[in-house]
Amino acid sequence: MLASHQNSMSDQHFTRTLNRNPFPENRADFFNSASIGLESTTAQSAATKSFKTWNDLLDRGQTSVAQLFDKVSDRITFFHNTTAGIQRIFLRLNQLIQSSYPTLLTTDLEYPGIVSLVDETWKGRIAMVSVAHLINSGRCAEVTDTLKRGILAAKPGIVYLSHIARGTGYRIDETILDFIRNIDRNIVIIIDGAQACGNIQLDDRSRAEADFYVTSGHKWICGKQTLGIVFADKRWSVEDPAQSYSNAKGSMGTGNSLALLSVQAAVADLNGETSEESPADRMADIERHNALLAEKFSEMLLDRCKLRSIAETNIAAGSEWRWNGIVAVPMPSVAVIDNLQDEKGDDWGVEFTYLKSELWRSNVGSTPAGKRFIVNCEGSNPDTFFDEVNLRGISIPDTGNYLSRFCFHYYHNLADVERLVDRIDRARTLRL
């Protein structure tokens, strides 16, 4: 079952440390994989090794990463970073569109950089379905239905969704992809898997139904910064001729061999190459491990510090929560966050992300003429249902309570979680 606390799954699992590459000394205090993951020492040293040819290096990288998907290496394309990969997807879509721009539908859970990107490049309409408030208020059980209604109402041609929301760790119900396909098989589905790939096992549905699955090599995959990875059918031709990552003959711009070497070594540890397990078994194990640590952390935080994570808020309200490595917690004050981040004596400062108030988009650049609107499925009249907006300067919905994000990965264990909770408790007391 997907629901809430899975204590019955035995505490034994997460007390052990998974077999894995060695990580640097500060790994026990590093809870920031959703931002920039920790690179293993194996990946660090792999980056210094020589390689035969650039194409050979790319081929090996694609083959390793493909193990996390459907093992078909020619569906993997590398980019300088994730944003470059997504820009390339939108460039291709713009090239393929002939007479009219379909509506692009997304949610208010997306990364602001991506929202800026689509706002600046998409000439058609952008419909942003409002669901963040549901998650923040303990109503995550309503997200899937709300999203379905938004999709039915806006009739998009392109849907862009995060597999796991960056801010809260909310994992979409993958059956939404079947729903979209049943509504209209022509809808182009783009899944942002930056917080999923390496955190959870990629399910068959996400691989099969997504036209584009995008992720990055430096978050949960734990490679060196900053490769973007796009999984797509070869026929979409997402390779960027201006980038040497496109396996083109001859020199085509610069490419970062260090990042490729590092990512390949890092992925080898996630896809079972190193541990000689099947990729599915290995990632299932890692997913379970991350989820159990996250759940335990959330539970302990509530018991000892009286701090309720977004996940706990939803569980308390009777919603199911699909645990994964991300836990978002509204902290009592900035002082607690500062205390926690400060290095104290022998302790490393805890590395996590304080999700400060963010804007969807700054005032830089232009916005094409296509309208932008928030789809509020609870709207009681046409103007509140489709709320026409200018995405510039609008604040991203959050809890407003110093939301902080902690990430639990395969290099953590129960002792790390307990130590983290101790330190949060201390930081909280210090404030008092």
Partner: protein, 414 residues
Amino acid sequence: MLSRFFKRSNKGGPSEKEEGTPTTPESHVESASHNPLVPCVLVVGDFRETDAIGFAKRAWKKIDAHYEAENAFFGPAPVPVANPLAPQGSHCIGFDEDRSMFDSPCVFPIPVNDFGRATSPTFQMHILELFKDHNIVGIISCGTADTNIGLAEAVRFIDVPVLLVLDSTLDGPELFIPNARELITGKMHKNEANAEQLVPNALQLIPNNALQAQAILSKVGVLSTNRPNPVVQLLCFPPDDPYVKDLRSAVESNVEETNRSKISPELVDITRFQVKKNAVLLCLGYYETLAAIPKSIKNCQLLLSDGFDERAAKSEKIEVGHYYQISPVFDPLEHALDAYKVVNRLWRDSQDLNPDDLPIRLRSKIQNVRELLEREYGDRYRFVGATNQRGGFYAKKVPMRRRRRFLPDPRQRL
């Protein structure tokens, strides 16, 4: 809520349905849970018992009959609610889960009554509610220009093909370009224009008023032949009606552009209604216009625009032996059925995704509809932009059908 506008029939066939009667759901379809994936098409128009022009009801009958003839896979279609205060009923749409919905040759038709108030927020919210709960793959508008103004406002953010069946207003399709208003008012720089603004999300199946104006003026020309100083009078009522304004503008533009020096329409004020003897009187409006005319029309050649319906032939206000009715070459009811069939086809074709032809997935639906209409019904459709150039209009001579008056026996007079 939703079902305020339509309710389900509790009976099997269309012949058994009774308009406006509250029903209790009982078929297997109603007992099934609502399936939001079922493809639906909205048939929008004025379904009121009185005050409506009646076309929507006839078009609905035709569409419903076709759906029933094709086995009504998703259960009987709803019956239009004629009374806005009619009690709520179920509007669940489902089907036998053991079967694939793609076995259905037809999408599920839903009649939507605008009650002559399509611009009201209630109607627009009702449209949104329908979209929110159903997989609506197209809209067939069987209403007037007024209906389309409200409809365009309601679906301004929704990317769904709209097929205009009845309304011939020139800028009808342009209402369905979401950003057209900014372009028209000049608030947007020309360079910012994009494909979304240039391609309306609607196709006008009935020929537009430019073609109607051609037919009108050619008939006026014939009726004026051999008269040294022909008098052409023009009555436009209601003057602010979008259809009337549009048709008047099309007539005046045509006169100007084609340099018809002999035809110079004089505008008639309905409050000072005076038809000149032997004039050609051209009436642009609806059947209701006749009721507004203060006195009878006589001693003239009368032309009525396509907004008038067959009731004009019995009108007491017309005291001439015959009049000329401007009509589209093809029956608008056929256009309504074509619209339904093409939406069915569009939905079925969309299931046959060809992975080798990825760009086709990004084509606008309205473009697919247009190609289907031109391919499947080429004798009736050839579009330039969003308007159909095939068919056009013609002037039909209609004899008046007077009710026999009681005349006293001449012998008694003696």
